[in-house]
Assembly symmetry: C2
Amino acid sequence: MATISDISRKTGYSIMTVSRVINNSKNVSEKARKSIAKAVKDLNYTPNAAARRLVKQKSQTIGLIITYEQIFSSYYFLTIMKGIEEKLEKTDYNLIMYASNSPNVASESKLLNLINQKFIDGFLVIAPSKDEFFMKTLHTNKIPTVIIGASYPFFNCVDVDNNKATFLAIEYLIKKGHKSIGLIRGTKNRYDAIEREKAFTECLEKHGLEINRMWFIDGHFEYRQAHLNTLKLIDEGTLPTALFAANDLMAIGSIDALHSRSIKIPGDISIIGFDDIDLAKLIQPPLTTVKQPLYNMGEAAASRIVELVETGSKKTVSQTIRMDTEIVERESVRKL
Amino acid sequence: MATISDISRKTGYSIMTVSRVINNSKNVSEKARKSIAKAVKDLNYTPNAAARRLVKQKSQTIGLIITYEQIFSSYYFLTIMKGIEEKLEKTDYNLIMYASNSPNVASESKLLNLINQKFIDGFLVIAPSKDEFFMKTLHTNKIPTVIIGASYPFFNCVDVDNNKATFLAIEYLIKKGHKSIGLIRGTKNRYDAIEREKAFTECLEKHGLEINRMWFIDGHFEYRQAHLNTLKLIDEGTLPTALFAANDLMAIGSIDALHSRSIKIPGDISIIGFDDIDLAKLIQPPLTTVKQPLYNMGEAAASRIVELVETGSKKTVSQTIRMDTEIVERESVRKL
DNA sequence: ATGAAAGCGCTAACAA
DNA sequence: TTGTTAGCGCTTTCAT
């Protein structure tokens, strides 16, 4: 591979001028810039990452931590990841993905080594559960970190206002005339699930509606669990007139279960989801849902972590960026 | 962070001797080794990756390429990844995951840059589909690569013998007295799906059994598709006495569908899967399946790619490592 | 068994 | 606007 000195030799300019052109610095004559740019192209030159890291004492790479179950559970992560990747792509940063029960991040020392060896500059974490052990390590060691999809105390976060979003959904159902509303809940130890469930009961209370525990379906944020447990409710109990699912995947699992028992949506029962994943508009009937700007959340988190890494996280105060949600009206809810 | 010279200063030995100890070289006195080891521990020293890369002209990292759909579709990848990670953990190599429709690997030039910048030493690819564009790039540029779960021409591969494995499964069913056997097929453009389907028909033919296209259920290697299409078959057609699923996830989707129509397994219909993922033994009834040594395949691939990278892939001839499969008998198949 | 010197490819600081 | 020098932390080569 060509190095900076090859370019220097070929163009007659010093390696410093070459470096300036490569890094888009000021104070380079148009002539030099052109000549060097051409040589870069001709020799198919790309800067050596290791050399840069060594002198800059930075790796220019961000670690993305997710848990294995998460990877396999939904499009939610896919969308966020896309946002992260495409944003980072525009910067000089790379992304490394760590699955959190892998040996790579299993131990505190591993995590610290990643930072100490200048292998990783900072971390992005998607929706960690409340008691995730490595979050403590991240915090006590002041490692630059941004959380997505959870409002974790003491951390920089990018999240939606789950309370507000849930009220939006439930009051939408109420406005459509629904009075008996069930809940398909998410994974118990995740912040988003907890907040949405809390808001759900608060909202029903506020409007003087019955809270029927029979209508709390465990879905674990998964298609299959929601499907199985909806089937159980259908076969063993009575149905409300509407269902609020804490994510779209569970809403879809539930819809498939309802259909397999010949229950019509929204004719017999209405259902509203949360997230607005791709599949939501593709299924029958298209799913009415609370849109979380997942992609933008990924982007925002990527920007924020780069900011932290560049300015030094110690200097900046933790903040949580709250993104707006909105109802996307499709065809799975009907007026009573 | 402590550097090699800090250790040198503290112990009084030259940085060269320190380097030798760190790298476990010969020709170091026991005394020096001890003293230096202690200092390393005291100062919490870890070698700077960037410096090493620069001088070695190697990144010591392997890229793992998978497609987004794959990530979200099954435990299959999880198990392989675990094998890869835990093997690599024992070497000096790191793992970076690339999702293949991300911008990171979208273009040929990106892929080449990763190699040229010494960012990645080689690639591991899990079950690429037949027409994956980047496989050509990998091949024509002679980039060290190992494929897992597909026998791709011209590449180093770690795979099972799908033909043999499928015969194993079908002849097991036949031996149990089954004569009408259906197939739940995988994603059409993937080698493993194609090979299993081909073997399936060959095996039925060989035994003079009827091949009924009605009993070919599209499952796309996914739980949901298998579930939906099994439901369709139940409602609109007749059932065979046994089903062969090209992976466990589809088998489970199908089982859940059958159960939701009160069809007993294995009482009314037998079903055999492929993979032996964790869930297989947890569901009701526990799934009889063809065990693919996924974890070991991950390990083998990791070893092989390290070998290629260390010796230079040009010197070694492409080979495909074939792993053995076996039937794991549980309770989803009954004797007729 | 140990060490000195050189250099990997790049950028920061300073000089011209 | 351009160039010179030094050095990031490590390993390789060659002495001792």
